[in-house]
Amino acid sequence: MNRSSRKLQAFRRALGRELASLFGVESSHSGIERILEEVEAHLEDTIAELIDEGATIEDATALALSRFGTASRVAQAYAALKAPSFIDPDAHVPRLRRMLREFQSRGKSMAVSQWFTDVRLALRFLLKYPGYGLAFVLTLGLGIGANTAIFSVVHGVWLQPLPYREGDRLIYLRHSAKLARIDNVFFSVPEIDDFRQQCPSFEGVTEFSAMTFTILGLDEPKQVRAGIVTGNYFEVMGLGARIGRVIASSDDGEGVAPVAVLTYEYWQRQFGGDPGAVGRTVTMNGRSVEIVGVAEPAPPYPERTDLYVNLVASPHHLSATMVHDRLHRMTEVFARLTPDASLESARTEVKSVARRLHEEYPEAYDPAHGYSVSLTSLRDQFAADARPTILMLLGVAAFVLLTACANVANLTLARVMRRGDEWALRVSLGARTRTLRRQLLIENLIPSLIGAVLGILLAAAGVDLLAAYIARYSARASEITVNTSVLGVALFLALAAASLFAFLPRLPGRVSQKWGALNATRASARFASRRMQRLLVVVQIGVSFVLLVGAGLLLETLMNLQSDDGGVALEEVLTMRTPIDYFGKRTPAELRSYLSTMVERVSALPGVRSAAIGSMIPLKEAPQGVFALLAAIEFEIEGRPTEPGAPHPRADFRVVTSDYFHTLGITLVNGRTFQATDRPDSAAVVVVNQALADYYFPDREAVGQRIGWRGKNLRFMGVTQDYRTIVGVVSDAKDYGVAEPVPHVVFNPFNQMALGGALFVRTAQPDVVTRPIINEIRELDPEQPVVDIATLAQIRSESIAPQRLNATLVGAFALLALTVAAVGVAGVLAFGVSQRTRELGIRAALGADRGLLVRTVLKEGALLALFGLVLGLIASLLFTELISGLLHDVTPTDVWTLGVVGLLLTAVALLASAVPAWRASNIDPVQALREE
């Protein structure tokens, strides 16, 4: 036997084995024998013919076998059919049973190897179309990346447990005066004691109040923000020491030494994590304080503090006023529930205690102010402010994912349609739809998973930026990381996307017995797929529309704010805080002379045009807590007594030197500003801003009217209730940031009410004069801290940073979606053109105007854009309302924005249609016809 016939024999045996195993019969079955004989004859005929044409017998055999296909290929084709009628498996039942057993034992490994085959096929497919694979991975990667990053925020800020021991039992209590519109009026110590003793749901109630201290003993005089806490603070919060110890109940009371515990963050920032920091002694507001430990990292709430000190570190906290005055509210309260208590039970108890207190101490709870106590789980409290931003980001990310998925789905649909013929044949040869579906699933799964990896990398790269952004809204921003839960979400998105892509396309169905059905099925599948493609593009355009509108609204907000100077001379005003220790070394008279000297000496410096002292820096965010109380003080207008029970009007209380207005660029509208003649012993005067004058004196001159400060907080400030004459009205400044409304402000002259806070310098060269100013101040008092040095322009820029970030983030995502949508439009139209090559070619051959062909395609693009715009318009009317809280001076239905976005999208869609349109007009009719 020669090699050629050995090859033929081997093939025959292989095919026999495959078929016998397939049909479940012996290989000697007559039906199999018949097939083998036919095949053998076929091969011999082929070889004979090839030899006639001049091939060697070896070559001819090889060629014949390759043309015939492998034994398993042929068997596969049979597998798709029922066994031919001439093979009757029932005649061989025992053999079949044996086969079945064998098959079952091999089943698992066969399934696995089937998966391997599918994976191999999928990889080969992707490598064959690298452009497709790349587009798939990049688009989906971006979508998954955006969502993974945003989810890491949701997880970090919202979902994951608090970094406190059994943090779910922690409650934050807030005391509000709703009718006076004060969100947080804080608690007084007697109130806290009442809640502590009368609410059995609380295992512990702890007190926290923040205060600024001047700290000496570090490299230079500094200011620190300290949380003054009761000894049970760390125990109630469930927070331990990283090194050293935390503050304990033994640190309460008067006879103990002042101690400080550093926050982990301050320890890192100020001491570089040096364990030697513990044990050091520093001077805080003139008192020696020993640093006894470093706390575990914890969210900075209710505000960012550098360290914690015990009560004795602040003499005020042990004073009679603090301990016994029910009105002296300056403390925040956290509580830990007992293991059996619920937030609800605590709420009920607190409500009933509050009701009793309101009855027992009517003088402390003016009904006109509407006092109430609310309880929130600490976890919800931390996330509360971040909510609108996070929801917006979630929405944006979801839209980006939607458009990315639509794009990939379109790619996949086009792929499936291109392979429609191949698959229709496979189906007609009996391949099960399930098999095709599985292959499609794996083909989508692999790039989806690669996309997920890319997305995770993108998210990991962007998460720090995002955390810095969220830090403005949530104390837990430092806990935002890409962790396993986040990875799980990325993986889930990839799997969901892959399933979507695999199950979205309609596969050619099983061919019915009727002839011609195959064609009809394919045509209708193709039609459905084209319709689906267009629908997806419409969705993409709609999503882009929504995102662009959102970005446009946020951008307009930003531009509105950026063009707002807040009513002050932004560029030329340098500000710095020069905090004064009011409990410390100077009497009010000494303080007045100290600050006056400071202003005089700074004004005399070269490059300084003028200088002033003021109690508050404008364009900064609204003050909180105690400062909110100072900011809004009750007053009464002479001749307009407030009715009993009704709230007094309120105005912001400021103290400024005479040069303040001129230095900040605030102009005089009426009357005069302060003068040297306004002395402590002369008539009491005030200046009001325009907003106040317009509101309270709409029909007469404000100048000449008299107002008197009222309310129970005055006695803490040493301010009398005497009437003061309004001598001037000045222009409005946006004290709380350009995005905030102008408050009603009353300015008191520094000479009549010594209160410092900040130094303002008018100069053309802020950078040049900064150092000389600090030197001058330090010469006056080496222990004077000078902090937060910035021009008003920088402060404004900082105050609108969130809006800038909003606009940038949403804008970036919107551009991304726009690009994806443009690619989607171009892709679908190009695909349509390639599918209609013959039709278009015939039309060109029949003399159709090429311009007409271009217009046909452009019209399709315009139609897609139109539907997308309508969808987008509807969606944006639904969704932009949700971000109305983030807008400023722009309505969510801003016609200008909607119009510009509509035009932009239409232009992009037409531009994207231009390429396929051009191709359509350049189809060579001859080529097109030959192709069919």
Binding site: R34, I35, E37, E38, V39, A41, H42, E44, D45, T46, R67, F68, G69, T70, R73, V74, A77, Y78, A80, L81, K82, P84, S85, F86, D421, E422, A424, L425, S428, L429, W515, G516, L518, N519, R522, E839, I842, R843, L846, E931, E932
Partner: protein, 106 residues
């Protein structure tokens, strides 16, 4: 015609090719290849499953015959096969005509 498209009509084509006269597998393959101008290049081995299926569906019948000195299975149309082919041809023709007339007027 595109190869893929031809494949989709494999059953119809086989019936058509056999209708030209009873033939064995190899001859059917050759006729198919010649008629399609070499465009149909599916593995020849897959021809037999298709033939055997048509036979099972009683559209073709087969019997042993000796051709060129060798025993071969020769296929021919059954009555049902002829009817199916006629019907399919008519449908195809009217379909093609409809398409042509649409294209001509377009």
């Amino acid at each position: 015609m595109k190869r893929e498209r031809l494949k989709g009509h494999l059953d119809l084509l086989l019936l058509a090719v056999v209708s030209a006269g009873a033939a064995h597998g190899y001859r059917i393959a050759r006729r198919l290849a010649d008629a399609s101008g070499g465009a149909l290049e599916l593995p020849e081995g897959t021809l037999y499953p298709a033939l055997h299926r048509l036979e099972s569906k009683k559209l073709l019948k087969s019997s042993w015959d000796t051709v060129g000195g060798r025993r071969r299975r020769v296929y021919d149309l059954t009555q049902e096969g002829k009817e199916a082919l006629t019907q399919e041809r008519t449908e195809w023709g009217s379909f093609a005509k409809a398409v042509e007339s649409v294209l001509d007027t377009a």
